[in-house]
């Protein structure tokens, strides 16, 4: 991993990339999800059978595809940031749009899962496992939507020529938020779908 290009990364900054305000948001969001994850794990410890039983009704294949979609979208977003750092505006727009499309895929698949559950009469009050599953994934789902809106704004602004190699804080800001959305799902997927 010791490619020479990595040295560009190793320029030590005091602050993470993007607007500091978004990082305050990111911290807050991470805190909420962390609390939810911990609550899930501790509640499960008191209802192991229930959680194991109903976990099996989840569509793990769909969730895996969703995980791959989000990881891919994060990769695309990273390519977009790389592009704008090289002043390649059109390329930046294309990578950002590609990331949004991966987001659309995620939303579509997740919506399909919800439709399936709803058709089976599953809702927040069905049992404690479903309450956690639906709450956690829905809360994340809303953040994916928010992230897509933010990336959409980045794409539009980039297309209008608002960003350049010298000034592209907005792109980094949007990218940071999107990576947060991804990283949360990377814990959520194994925790809720797989770990038993």
């Amino acid at each position: 991993m010791d490619a020479p290009g990595l040295k560009a990364l190793a320029v030590k900054n005091n602050y993470p990339p993007g607007d500091l305000a978004i990082w305050i948001f990111i911290l807050a969001e991470l805190l909420v999800f962390a609390a939810f994850f911990a609550a899930y794990a501790f509640t499960r410890a008191h209802h192991v059978e229930l959680f194991n039983t109903y976990q099996r009704t989840l569509d793990t294949n769909a969730a895996m595809i969703n995980t791959l979609a989000l990881i891919t979208s994060s990769y695309f977003v990273m390519r977009a940031v790389a592009a704008i750092r090289e002043d390649r505006v059109k390329l930046c727009v294309r990578w950002t749009v590609a990331a949004i499309l991966m987001g659309v895929l995620f939303i579509a698949i997740k919506s399909g899962e919800y439709a399936h559950h709803y058709a089976n009469g599953v809702n927040l009050r069905t049992n404690t496992f479903y309450m956690f599953y639906l709450s956690l994934t829905f809360f994340h789902y809303m953040h994916v939507l928010m992230g897509m809106i933010i990336l959409g704004a980045v794409a539009i602004k980039a297309n209008n020529g608002s960003y350049s190699a010298r000034e592209h804080t907005g792109v980094e800001t949007g990218a940071s938020y999107w990576h947060m959305v991804d990283i949360v799902w990377l814990v959520l997927f194994p925790l809720v779908y797989i770990m038993r």
Binding site: A21, I24, F25, A28, L31, V32, A35, F36, A39, L124, R125, M131, F132, S135
Partner: protein
């Protein structure tokens, strides 16, 4: 004072302090009635005194918010207020309506008041904090609409700043959520569910926007720190308030018959409600540390910093203490609630209104920027007396509440309510003494406007 029309704030501020005084008088009465049960009975029974105490609080804070808006919006928008005449007219309408309502509470049995005011046509009376007759509530709506119109038109025709826009959103939210006081479902669960759409979404929602914007305004003026820096902080703070506070409403839905998932959602989100208050504290101290000037009105700066700290303690810390469902199961409706309620209201909303009055009143009375040194010293004394006595009120009620929770609910052999009340009486006496000190502090605050007037302004 840059714009002549800012002068309309003055009557609002004077009424605010006057009604605050009335509120505390009744508070001291209530505190005594806790321990001398028939004090002033039957002329002013406990429940009537309580209605007067709580309703006066809300009304004087509303006067304070409106005065603050009338002062800061013309300055932020860099234009005169749209209609000073309308503002003054609404002042009198609100004051008279408020006075008549309070007189109604005091002079007439509540059921008679309901009959006299035609409550039967559109019943809205009988709920805590919303005891006002329907016609009073309608009057409040009219006053609020006129106020929003006035402020809105001013902002529209002038410069739009983050401070004035956040304030406007908060005030619009205040008005919109007040409309839920007209919704009175028969179903008790729904009744309570929507009641909180007024109360929680006010004090743990849109009022935090009002608080943040006024604090930001005072900090901009007194520290000289770059507007952009302060405005960015304000954005982040109010975003955190709304993110935590909206779903955080669920911490009032634990035991009223709402679905069980509220115990999870309410706990997780409301546990984070202290965050914006913590940020406000860091923000306030940071800005003062980075100040570019030493503003002559040091009293106002003291109030501003005090607001941030007390709001964090009262709303944030004390709120957190009983916000998680497993804890709230035992503490719900005990003196813990009273402890939190008093410090939170004082720290956040009483103090921000006083901060604004402290900042603006000298200029409204013809000074350049601040009162004389003598006047400010008296004012700072009032700050410390009121704040420290409020801390003691809170501590005493917390002790009472912890004992009450334990003996009445948690222990293996729970005792009846009145037996427990007897055991915690000592704390009520101590609270009352602290309350009297608070009243003295308030009197000093009022006096600060009348001393040192002839002396030169503090440099």
């Amino acid at each position: 004072m840059k714009y002549k029309s800012q002068a309309v704030a003055k009557p609002y501020f004077i009424a605010a302090i006057g009604l605050f005084f009335g509120q505390i008088l009744f508070g001291v009465v209530l505190g005594l009635q806790y321990v001398v049960g028939d004090f002033l009975f039957p002329e002013i029974p406990f429940n009537v005194a309580r209605m007067v105490h709580t309703n006066l609080l809300i009304v004087w804070l509303l006067f304070g918010f409106m005065g603050s808006a009338y002062y800061l919006v013309p300055e932020e928008s860099e234009t005169e207020l749209h209609s000073p005449g309308l503002a003054l007219l609404m002042f009198w309408v609100f004051l008279v309506a408020g006075a008549l309502t309070v007189l109604g509470y005091l002079l007439v049995p509540y059921a008679t008041l309901a009959e006299m005011t035609g409550n039967g046509l559109l019943p809205t009376m009988g709920r805590e904090f919303l005891e006002q007759p329907t016609i009073t509530k309608l009057g409040i709506v009219v006053v609020a609409l006129a106020f929003l119109f006035n402020i809105g038109m001013t902002i529209l025709k002038g410069r739009k700043t983050v401070v004035s826009l956040v304030l406007l959103i908060g005030l619009v939210g205040l008005a919109v959520f007040f409309l839920f006081s007209f919704y009175n479902p028969d179903n008790l669960v729904k009744d309570k569910y929507y009641w909180w759409w007024v109360v929680h979404l006010w004090v743990e929602g849109v009022w935090e926007l009002i608080l943040g914007s006024i604090l930001a305004f005072v900090l901009i003026k007194t520290t000289g720190v770059d507007r952009e820096v302060i405005e960015k902080w304000l954005y982040v703070i109010i975003a955190m308030s709304l993110i935590t506070g909206i779903i955080g409403t669920g911490h009032h839905y634990y035991w009223i018959g709402a679905p069980e998932y509220w115990q999870w959602w309410g706990s997780i989100f409301s546990a984070m409600e202290p965050i914006p208050f913590f940020m406000m504290t860091v923000f306030a101290f940071n800005m003062v540390n980075r100040r570019r000037r030493n503003h002559p009105n040091q009293a106002a700066v003291l109030w501003a910093l005090g607001t941030a700290v007390m709001a964090f303690l009262g709303a944030g810390v004390w709120g957190f203490m009983h916000t998680l469902a497993p804890i709230n199961y035992y503490t719900h409706g005990t003196q813990i609630t009273a402890a939190h309620g008093h410090m939170a209201f004082y720290g956040a909303y009483v103090m921000i209104v006083i901060t604004m009055i402290s900042y603006a009143m000298p200029m409204l009375r013809g000074r350049n920027a601040a009162n004389s040194g003598k006047s400010q010293v008296v004012e700072m004394w009032s700050f410390w007396l009121m704040t420290v006595s409020m801390v003691f009120i809170t501590l005493f009620l917390t002790a009472a509440g912890v004992l009450q929770t334990y003996i009445q609910r948690y222990t293996d052999d729970p005792q009846p309510f009145m037996v427990v009340q007897d055991k915690i009486e000592i704390f009520y006496w101590m609270r009352e003494i602290a309350g009297v000190v608070f009243l003295i502090g308030l009197i000093l605050y009022a006096m600060s406007f009348f001393v040192g007037g002839a002396e030169p302004e503090e440099a």
